[in-house]
C-alpha cells in the first residue's frame, strides 16, 4: 500500500527571510501506482461516486490543504519533532 502524500525537509539557511517551513509535501495519487486498471474493482454507490469524483475507491485520492495542519505546519508535521 502506498500513501497519497510524501514529505521532505528542505535545507534551512540562517539567511532565509521568512520563518522556515521545515516540512514540505507533495501529492502521489493512485494513478501513479495502479498500472492498467484491473477488472471488477469494488465500486461506490452512484451518489457516493458522484461525491468522490470517481466510481472506484481504488482511484480516489483525498486532498486537503497540507499547510493547514495543527500548528500551521504541514499536516502530520505535528509528529515531526522538528516542527515544534
Amino acid at each position: 500500500m502506498y500513501t497519497y502524500r510524501k514529505y521532505y525537509e528542505p535545507y534551512v539557511s540562517p539567511l532565509d527571510p521568512c520563518p522556515p517551513m521545515r516540512v514540505k509535501s507533495y501529492e502521489t495519487p493512485p494513478q501513479l501506482y495502479m498500472g492498467f486498471q484491473p477488472p471488477n474493482l469494488p465500486q461506490y454507490h452512484p451518489r457516493e461516486a458522484l461525491k468522490q469524483g470517481t466510481l472506484w475507491p481504488a482511484l480516489f485520492a483525498p486532498y486537503t490543504n497540507p499547510y493547514k495542519g495543527p500548528g500551521g505546519g504541514v499536516d502530520g508535521g505535528g509528529e515531526n519533532p522538528d516542527n515544534g
Partner: protein, 189 residues
C-alpha cells in the same frame, strides 16, 4: 456534433460571496492548464491518433467541456451580484473596466488565452504523454485553488474536478499501454 445537456455534471455550490476567488479560478477557465486548453487539446489531437485510442481522447475532451461549464458557473456565481467597488477590491478592476461581469478567456493574471498553450505533435506517444502531464498540472492547479479558499462548498466542487484529473490521467496512461502492445491481454468472462 455535440448534444448539449441542460445540466451540470456536478452540483456546483458556492457559499461565500468572494469575487477575489473568481479571479483565481480564471486560471482553470482561460489558463495554460485550464479546462478550455484541455478540451481543445484532446479534441484536436483525436484526428491523428490510432483508432484504438481515439475513443478515450474524444470522450475525455468532451468531459472537459462539462468541467469548463462548472468553472464558469463558479466564476459567474462569485461575481454575479458584486458591485464595481467589490470588483476593484477583489483585484478585478482591470477585468471590470474591459468586460463588466462578462467572462473572458484569460488566466488568473489576466493573460489572454492562446492556442500555444497546447501541442499536437502527430506522434501518438508524444501527444499522450503531453495529455498525462496536462492532467497532472491541472490536478496541481486545483490543489493550489483548494488551498486558497475556506468555502467548504467551493472546495467540494474543486475536489471533484481534481479527482477527475486523477481518473483522466489513469486513462491516458492506459492508452499509452494499449499503443505499446506489450500488455498482457486478459480476457474477461
Amino acid at each position: 456534433m455535440w448534444v448539449y445537456e441542460k445540466k451540470l455534471q456536478y452540483p456546483v455550490r458556492v457559499n461565500q460571496c468572494d469575487p477575489r476567488m473568481a479571479k483565481f479560478l480564471m486560471e482553470q477557465y482561460g489558463g495554460a492548464d485550464g479546462e478550455l486548453a484541455a478540451a481543445l487539446r484532446y479534441l484536436n489531437q483525436r484526428y491523428t491518433l490510432p483508432d484504438r485510442v481515439i475513443g478515450i481522447v474524444n470522450d475525455i475532451g468532451t468531459e472537459e467541456l462539462a468541467h469548463l461549464e462548472m468553472i464558469a458557473t463558479m466564476v459567474y456565481k462569485l461575481t454575479k451580484d458584486a458591485t464595481a467597488e467589490q470588483m476593484m477590491e477583489a483585484g478585478l478592476g482591470d477585468h471590470y473596466a474591459d468586460h463588466d461581469k462578462a467572462l473572458f478567456f484569460h488566466n488568473a493574471a489576466g493573460h489572454p488565452f492562446t492556442a500555444e498553450y497546447f501541442q499536437a505533435k502527430g506522434d501518438p506517444i508524444a501527444d499522450l504523454y503531453e495529455d498525462v502531464a496536462a492532467e497532472e498540472k491541472a490536478r496541481a492547479t486545483y490543489q493550489w485553488l483548494i488551498n486558497m479558499t475556506d468555502d467548504p462548498d467551493l472546495q467540494d466542487g474543486l475536489q471533484f474536478l481534481r479527482e477527475r484529473e486523477v481518473v483522466h490521467s489513469q486513462r491516458f496512461r492506459e492508452a499509452v499501454e494499449i499503443l505499446k502492445e506489450e500488455r498482457d491481454r486478459k480476457k474477461f468472462f
